[in-house]
């Protein structure tokens, strides 16, 4: 897909900012890859020039093999009617990033959620206290290196289910398959 097919307001935004790789993913979907330090500028420009007033979600992906977190900012505009997903990568070791609360107020909730689930600290976010998890003392559970089954084995006990018919089945070489 060429740049020429983009709506005019998005053109204006991408002329202003450098280092943006964008990819049309459908008639109303645009993927944008950008350096982490340019993202707040992009969001502000999108909001100001192309009517991207709506931040519908921030999602996070853990890439342990790259030692990176990927943050995806999903934006919507009634003006261009094209969804923009802005992807950035931040180093996993530091796991710090800037809050975009000053541009989009709902970001506060998404950042609080990501902080709880992935342990990423957002500088400037109004509230980083525990949000959804109840009485949680473990590590951030959505990180890929979190051992879910290990945690379950440590904190819960399993129901014993050992009926005669299952024992007979297992004696014949059948039964549950791992």
């Amino acid at each position: 897909m060429s740049e020429a097919q983009l709506p005019a307001p998005l053109h204006a935004v991408f002329d202003e900012i450098t280092g943006v790789i964008f990819k049309r993913q459908g008639a109303r979907r645009l993927r944008v890859d950008i350096d982490a330090d340019r993202l707040p500028t992009l969001l502000a420009l999108l909001k100001g020039r192309a009517g991207y007033l709506h931040l519908s979600a921030i999602s996070c992906v853990d890439w342990p093999q790259d030692s990176e977190f990927e943050l995806v900012y999903h934006l919507g505009s009634y003006e261009t009617q094209v969804m923009v997903a802005a992807h950035i990568r931040i180093p996993r070791a530091a796991s710090r990033y800037l809050s975009v609360y000053d541009i989009h107020i709902p970001a506060g909730f998404f950042e609080r959620d990501i902080h709880e689930m992935y342990g990423i600290e957002f500088e400037g976010s109004p509230n980083m206290t525990p949000f959804i998890l109840t009485e949680w003392q473990g590590p951030p559970p959505m990180r890929k290196d979190f051992d879910t089954l290990g945690y379950v084995n440590q904190h819960y006990s399993w129901q014993q289910y050992d009926p005669q018919w299952l024992r007979e089945l297992e004696a014949r070489g059948g039964g549950l398959v791992e």
Binding site: E135, Y156, Y161
Partner: protein, 248 residues
């Protein structure tokens, strides 16, 4: 007229009715007969409270409505825990919802029955390796019956209800008494899940004494923690100072 005031005060209304002393043996027999009659009636009029945490709620409308029609066996949905007899846990329980289930359960009046729907309440079901899903419901509240399946079909639900009715009728659905008899164990499991600060507004120990179900295992190591917290709370100043202390 003055002799009117000197009548002895009867502490136990059961023995006072007959104006004679009824010995323990006879009284327990009478009580057992009355209980059997009450059980028989109770089994035919059950109010069901649905705690619809998961997909099990979808299977209930077909069970309730015209095709299978649970009202035939005397069951009806009820809106509040205080008027309900059966608590249905229809699906997986996360740690967060389990807390609400315990609060709901303790609000219900005895005798009360708990049914676990589907494999999620039995062993976590398809969330077996999830950090946030409770695995065995019977560790936190006593469960009368589980219905296996993911989800159980309305026929299975019907079958389960009929079995529960039969158990209530024959006086075998007594799991709720276990909560009072072994409250310390249940509370221990709840505290392991929610931290040692966990407590509910219901005074379960007093209820256990009221139902004459208190045993040696009703109180113990875990209920002692409750009492400690109670004493600490009693010493705390009432007003804004206390609210600040609680929020920390």
């Amino acid at each position: 007229m003055s002799s009117m005031t000197s009548y002895p005060i009867y502490r136990d209304p059961d023995t006072a009715i007959g104006c004679r002393t009824v010995d323990e043996q006879e009284r327990s027999l009478l009580r057992r007969v009355l209980d059997r009659i009450a059980d028989h009636c109770r089994a035919r009029s059950l109010f069901v409270l649905h705690y619809c945490t998961g997909c099990g709620a979808i299977e209930l409308p077909p069970s309730m409505t015209s095709r299978f029609d649970l009202e035939r066996v005397g069951m009806q949905p009820m809106v509040t825990p205080r008027q309900a007899d059966i608590l249905l846990i229809t699906g997986y329980l996360s740690v967060k919802t389990l807390k609400r289930v315990i609060l709901t359960y303790e609000q219900m009046q005895g005798p009360k029955y708990v049914m676990g729907f589907g494999s999620c309440t039995i062993n976590g079901g398809m969330y077996w390796n999830s950090y946030a899903t409770v695995k065995r419901l019977q560790e936190y509240i006593p469960v009368d019956m589980y219905i296996a399946g993911c989800m159980p079909r309305p026929e299975a639900i019907q079958q389960g209800f009929l079995q529960l009715i039969e158990r209530i009728d024959s006086g075998r659905a007594t799991a709720w008494q276990d909560y009072y008899r072994r409250y310390d164990w249940y509370l221990g499991n709840q505290q392991a899940m929610f931290g040692e600060q966990f407590q509910t507004p219901t005074d379960v120990i007093a209820e256990a004494r009221h139902y004459a179900l208190a045993s040696a295992e009703t109180t113990g190591r875990h209920t002692a923690l409750l009492e400690q917290q109670l004493q600490q709370a009693a010493l705390m100043p009432v007003g804004p100072g206390r609210a600040a202390g609680e929020s920390q």
